[in-house]
Amino acid sequence: MLRIAIVGCGKVADQHVQAIHRIPGCKIVALCDRELLLAKQLGERFGIAACFCELSKMLEVARPDIVHITTPPQSHCSLAKQCLESGINVYLEKPFTITAQEAESVVELAERRGLKLTVGHNYQFTLEMLEMRRLLKEGFLGGRPSHLESYWSYDLADLRYASAFLSNRAHWVRQLPGQLFHNLISHGIAKLAEFLDEVVEIIATAYQSDHLRSLGLEDVLDELRVLIRDKQGTTAFFCFSTQVKGLNLLRAYGPSGSISANILTGSLIRSPSRSYKSYLTYFIPPLRNASQHFGNARRNIANFLRRRLYQDFGMKELTERFYNSVRLGDKPPISYSEIISTARIMDEIFAQIYPSRTTDDRRRKTGTDHRLEMVREVSAPLLTSDF
C-alpha cells in the first residue's frame, strides 16, 4: 500500500484527493498546509485525520512514499527538494517550478537520490491524448511531425474564478514572472514539448484583450501567440486565448497526414494525406470526417456507460502511471527532458513578453541577466542546441 500525502490544501487539492481515491493500492495518510484550518477542512470532508501545518513534521510523522505538492508555484522548488532530501517521491502540480533553472535542479536532485518525479500535466493523459500518442507511435504521420499546433483557452468571463487574482496584485498568480500565462500555459506547451527536439527558435508575442482592458488591469496580458522551431526543423504554433472560447486542441502534421485531438469534446480526427479524383475530393474527406465524429460520439457514450468519462480522468491516469513507476521502478509517465524543455520554452516566452519582470526576477535569483543570455542563444539558432 503506497502512502500518499498532499501539501497545499487549496482548490486543486480536491481534484487530487478524488483522483487518488480512484486508484487501488494507495492511501492518503496526511495533509499539510501552512494554514492548518485549510488542511483540516479537506481532511474533514474526505475522512483524513492527520493534518499538519509544517512539512518537516508531516514527513517525519506520516512517512509518506509520495507527496503531491499543490501549493502556489513559488514554493514548488523548495518543497520538492525538501521531500526529495527526505527520500520521498514527488508529484508537483503545474507549473513545475518558476524557472527552468529551478526545474533542472529539482530533476537533478531526484536523479541523484534515485527518486521519481512528475508534473501535473494531466491533460496529456486524457483518453483522446492517449489514443493520439499511440497512433503517433505507430507511425500514423509517416515520420517525425513536421508541424504542431497547440491551442489553449481559458474563460475569464466568470469572475467568481478570476476575480481572486485579477483584483489582487498581491495574489500569487500576479507575482509570477509570466503572470496569468505562467499559471495556465504549461499544459499546452508541454503537449508540444513532448514531440519537439531541442528548441532553437522561439518568437512570442502577447497582448491584452478588450475584456481585460475594460476591467482596468493594465499590467496583465491574456492573449499569447508563439512560434517555435526545433533543431530537426519541426515547427510549432501555440495559441493561448481568453477570448476564443472552448479551445483545447493539439494537432500534429506529418508526411502521411495529420491528427487532431480535441480535449474539450473528447474527440480525435485523423486526416490521411490522400488525393481523390475530381469532385470526390469534396465528397469523401467530409464523409470520412463525419464518420470519425460519429465514432467519437459513440466511443464517448460507451466510456460514459463504463464510468470512464469523468472530468479528472487525465489526472487519475497520470497519477496511477506515476504510482506504478514508483512501485515498479519504471520510467515516470512524463520524461524529465520534457519537463525541462517545457520550463525552458516558458522561460523564453516570458523573457520576450515580460522582459522587465523576468529580467528583474532572474537577477534577483541568480545575480545575472539571464534573459540576455537566452536571447543570445535563441538569436543564433543553428549554431547552438544548448537552449
Binding site: G10, D14, R22, L37, L38, Q41, F46, R160, N168, R307
Partner: protein, 361 residues
C-alpha cells in the same frame, strides 16, 4: 435622529465606529443606507479591490453624511488588511462571504477571512458586537417532516460534502469559528441567518424557486414556502442585531411575514417579468430523481457530480414552515416593507431594464 432614540436598549453610542464588510454587496449597501438613515455616520466600509463601487457610491451620494464615510479597500485573507479594517471599531457587520464554487475557495473566503478579521478585532479594545451574517444554507431539513417549523433550534447540515454546497459549507465553518471565538475569547457575537433575500438589484431566481435547465425551468414541489426576506427588511434585522443589548451569542433567522409558496412566486414572476416555459414536479418525484442522481454519482465515482441529492432536495423544496418570532420578540424587528409592496419593488426593476434572467439558475 440618533439611533439611541430610535432603537430601544441600544449598545451603540452616536460616535461609535461601525465596520461593514461586504458593504458594496446587495445586502451590504442597503445596510449602509439604513445605518445612515438612523444617523450613524462614523462608518467604515470594507470593500474588495475588485469591487465596482457603483451601488455603494449611489447610496452614499444620497446622504450628506455619506461624504464622511471611510472606504477601506482590502482583502480579508490578508491579516494586515484586517488590522486596517478592525482598528478602533465598536460594532462590526460582517457580510463578506465566499461565493466560489469550490469548497476550498468558499472556506477560505468565508471561514478563514472571518477568522482573520476576528483575530484582528481581538487585538483591539472596545468591540461591542460582532454581527456574523450567515445563511439558511446551514440548516439541514433532511430529518424534518413536511409542515415542520424551521427555526433557530433546527439541526445544522452535518454532511455538506454530500449536499454538494460549497457556499453552505463555508458558512457552516464560519459559524463554527465565530462560536469558538465567542466561547474561547469572549468575542461578543450575534449570528444572523437570512433566508432567500430578494429585491431590486438581484435579478436571478433562487434555486428554491426552480432549476433552470435546457431552456426551461423545473420547479420541484411548488407548494413549499420560500423563506423570503426583502432586502430592506433583512438589512433592518441585521442592523438591529448590532445594536440591541443582551443578545450576545444569540442566533436569529430572518424571514418576512406573509411568505409565498414557490408556485405563487413563480406565477407572479412570469406574469410581470417574462413568460417562459416551466414544468412542475411533485416533491416525491423530485426527491426520487435526486436520490437516483445521488446514487449514480456515488456509483460512478463522481462521473456526474452530486449536484442533485436528497439533502439539497429537502433543504430547498420540502414544505417546511419558517418563523421570525424570535426576531420580533428579541430585536423588536418588524418588516419595513410588507410583502405585497416588496414584490412590487422587486418586479419593478424588470420593467426598467426589460429582460429576464430567470433561467440563470
Amino acid at each position: 435622529m440618533p439611533a439611541r432614540e430610535v432603537i430601544p436598549k441600544s449598545i451603540a453610542l452616536a460616535g461609535d465606529r461601525i465596520l461593514v464588510t461586504g458593504s458594496n454587496g446587495f445586502i451590504g449597501s442597503k445596510l449602509i443606507e439604513i445605518l445612515l438613515e438612523y444617523g450613524f455616520a462614523n462608518l467604515r466600509c470594507f470593500v474588495r479591490p475588485s469591487s465596482h463601487l457603483g451601488r455603494l457610491q449611489k447610496v452614499l451620494g444620497n446622504f450628506d453624511a455619506g461624504r464622511n464615510v471611510e472606504l477601506v479597500v482590502g482583502d480579508l485573507l490578508s491579516r494586515e488588511d484586517c488590522r486596517k479594517a478592525a482598528a478602533g471599531v465598536s460594532i462590526v457587520y460582517h457580510l463578506a462571504a465566499g461565493m466560489e464554487k469550490s469548497f476550498a475557495g468558499a472556506f477560505m473566503n468565508s471561514a478563514l477571512a472571518t477568522r482573520n478579521l476576528m483575530d484582528a478585532l481581538l487585538e483591539c479594545d472596545g468591540l461591542k458586537r460582532f454581527v456574523n451574517v450567515s445563511s439558511f444554507a446551514v440548516y439541514s431539513n433532511l430529518d424534518l417532516k413536511h409542515g415542520d417549523l424551521v427555526d433557530e433550534t433546527c439541526p445544522l447540515e452535518d454532511a455538506p460534502q454530500e449536499r454538494f454546497d460549497a457556499y453552505g459549507f463555508g458558512k457552516l465553518k464560519q459559524e463554527e469559528l465565530v462560536r469558538e471565538y465567542g466561547s474561547k475569547h469572549q468575542l461578543p457575537y450575534v449570528i444572523v441567518r437570512p433566508g432567500y433575500v430578494f429585491g431590486p438589484g438581484k435579478t436571478e431566481l433562487n434555486g428554491r424557486v426552480g432549476v433552470g435547465t435546457f431552456r426551461f425551468l423545473i420547479q420541484v414541489n411548488g407548494s413549499h414556502f420560500l423563506p423570503l426576506t426583502f432586502v430592506d427588511n433583512c438589512a433592518e434585522a441585521i442592523v438591529l442585531a448590532g445594536f440591541k443589548a443582551d443578545i450576545d451569542g444569540e442566533i436569529f433567522n430572518v424571514v418576512d411575514d406573509e411568505l409565498l409558496t414557490g408556485r405563487q412566486f413563480l406565477k407572479v414572476y412570469k406574469k410581470k417579468v417574462k413568460p417562459f416555459r416551466s414544468i412542475r414536479m411533485p416533491y416525491f418525484a423530485g426527491y426520487g430523481l435526486c436520490c437516483i442522481w445521488e446514487k449514480y454519482s456515488k456509483w460512478s465515482k463522481g462521473q456526474l457530480p452530486p449536484a442533485f441529492n436528497r439533502r439539497r432536495c429537502a433543504a430547498e423544496w420540502k414544505r417546511t414552515r419558517y418563523s421570525n418570532q424570535k426576531l420580533k420578540d428579541r430585536l423588536g424587528w418588524k418588516p419595513r416593507v410588507p410583502m405585497e409592496k416588496a414584490l412590487e419593488k422587486f418586479l419593478a426593476q424588470f420593467e426598467s431594464n426589460g429582460n429576464s434572467e430567470a433561467l440563470k439558475r
